[in-house]
Amino acid sequence: MSQRTLKTGLQQATCTLVAECLVRALQYLSTADSQIRAEAHAWPSGKTLRLEVPGAGGFTVTGTPWGFKKLDKETPGDVTIRFKSPSDAFRVFTGQMGVAQAYAQHKFVLRGDMALAMPFVRCVDITEGYLFPDLLAKRLLKRLPEKEVSTARVYGSILLGGR
């Protein structure tokens, strides 16, 4: 295996792992954080959002009055965000680039109704505020969200599968 494909493979694997952590954190924060709870509650009923990384698959979520829910692996999205390359996704998933910067730098394409992606983007921003240390989060986010539970608690929930 060439160094290049090894690197891509590692990036793809990291993306899969971080994506799972992100979904679990979202599920947990759907109850623990009032803003994410409100976004999940206001989510248009039954609408789905899918996020894809080339070569690493993707996941689909929906918002419900009880919080964000991960759907069956191949569920199509009413809106789909697809990164243009695994390295782009890697940069976003590892906190080297915020969602706004990734959008501004054409790192992903979006299929479907953009208005549906916006609440998700807000929730990801808030979640990043919990997952990353303030110094890093400040570089990724325009404004640091107020934490309503501790970062340790969020990481704990990720280990417990999002509960």
Partner: protein, 397 residues
């Protein structure tokens, strides 16, 4: 400025007197001979449609059909209807004569035809579509505002959801952007001012938002200088062809700029005011611009960039005479003064209550809609629900 950028240069530009007469030649070279001409009833009444048809005839071209029933707030349904008509008549190209609504309708039609589908909604999204079948497309703007003749964006209303859908694709860019002085000289002062302010906002937001890049900066900086100098003249003396052309070129440059660097919070709230309360787009831009710039400054963003913009807006003398720490505020007050001047000249609204279309009870719905508008992502400062409500309160009266 970001570490990476993309820029698609605008269409071929035909700009100046008798530009219309060159359309047949240009369309022929694109392999098109049977255009469908799209316009609106107002332009048919003032004779603009006839002027275009005559110009086409000089080049031996006849429009297969002239469809002038495009409403000011075009919708998905109109787009699908026109696409069906295009197919029924066996047309091979599109000529759009009008303001943003007509040109964006034509873009939507081109998209439906290119994807060989029947419903525009299937094409919603950002940068996602393949090119598909190419339908040659000439855009002739009759307002100097949207810059749609040079953008990859189409805004089309979805009346059921009461929102304006935004479509972004590099394949929406017209092949020809035709700026002819005959097309804008009859535009009434009030609409000239309102649409011109929209163009100005495109330039300013393009020059300041997160997606700005060296090429869009060049376009935007040139555009704002042209617009602020030509706009008051075009409002006072509609028949001044020189001012009209400077304004038209400024609007196109601003369109090309924001098409590649996007717009920000002024547009996010403006789109929402349009969707929820039917405030005309240019009016919303006029009302919001200074307040949103002040907001961005308060949030600790844009100071350096707004300071630089003072040079392009007010010129070197004012820039040099203003102390560096006052330049950003001076840029905002320059724009407020321009707005006041235009308001006095033609009744341009300066506050939301001036429009007579907004009630304070609508604020909540407007703020919620604005939060879900993609333009908010690239605004330099974060804005949440409460921030937007505060801005709406500030511009209320």
């Amino acid at each position: 400025m970001g570490a990476y950028y993309e820029f698609k240069l605008p269409a071929k530009i035909l700009s100046g007197s008798e530009a219309l007469e060159h359309i047949p030649h240009e369309l022929n070279t694109l392999g098109a001979f049977r255009p469908l001409l799209l316009s609106d009833e107002g332009l048919e009444r003032v004779g603009a449609v006839k002027t275009v048809l005559n110009a086409l005839a000089q080049g031996g071209m006849t429009a297969v059909e002239t469809f002038c029933q495009i409403p000011p707030d075009s919708s998905i349904q109109v787009v699908n209807q026109v696409a069906a008509l295009f197919r029924k008549l066996g047309c091979d190209s599109l000529i759009a004569l009008g303001g943003g609504s007509v040109i964006d309708t034509a873009k939507g039609v081109g998209m439906v035809l290119a994807q060989e589908g029947h419903d525009l909604m299937a094409s919603a999204g950002c940068e996602v579509l393949p090119r598909g079948k190419h339908v040659p497309f000439a855009a002739i703007p009759t307002t100097s505002g949207t810059g749609s003749e040079a953008t990859i964006v189409a805004v089309v209303a979805d009346p059921e959801k009461k929102v304006k859908m935004e479509f972004l694709s590099y394949h929406l860019l017209p092949d020809l952007a035709v700026l002819d002085p005959r097309m804008t000289e009859t535009l009434p002062p009030r609409i000239t001012a309102s649409t011109g302010f929209d163009a100005l906002v495109h330039a300013i937001e393009a020059a300041t938002c997160l997606q700005r890049n060296p090429v869009s900066d060049a376009f935007a900086e040139k555009a704002m200088g042209q617009i602020v100098r030509a706009l008051p003249v075009a409002v006072r003396e509609g028949k001044n062809r020189k001012a009209r052309m400077v304004l038209a070129n400024g609007s196109l440059l601003a369109g090309a700029a924001f098409s590649n660097s996007m717009v920000g919070l002024v547009h996010a709230i403006g789109h929402a005011l349009g969707g929820v309360c039917k405030v005309a787009h240019g009016d919303a831009m006029t009302i919001l611009l200074p307040a949103v710039m002040a907001y961005n400054l308060r949030e600790g963003t844009c100071r350096e960039r707004y300071s630089e913009l003072l040079l392009h807006l007010a010129g070197p003398e004012v820039y040099a005479a203003t102390p560096a720490h006052r330049r950003a505020e001076e840029a905002i007050s320059f724009l407020e003064t321009l707005r006041r001047e235009l308001a006095q000249a033609c009744g341009l609204p300066e506050t939301l209550s001036d429009t007579g279309k907004v009630r304070k009870e609508d604020f909540s719905a407007v703020a919620k809609t604005a939060l879900n508008d993609g333009a908010i992502i690239v605004n330099p400062a974060q804005a949440d629900y409460n921030d937007i409500i505060a801005i709406l309160e500030e511009v209320w009266s």
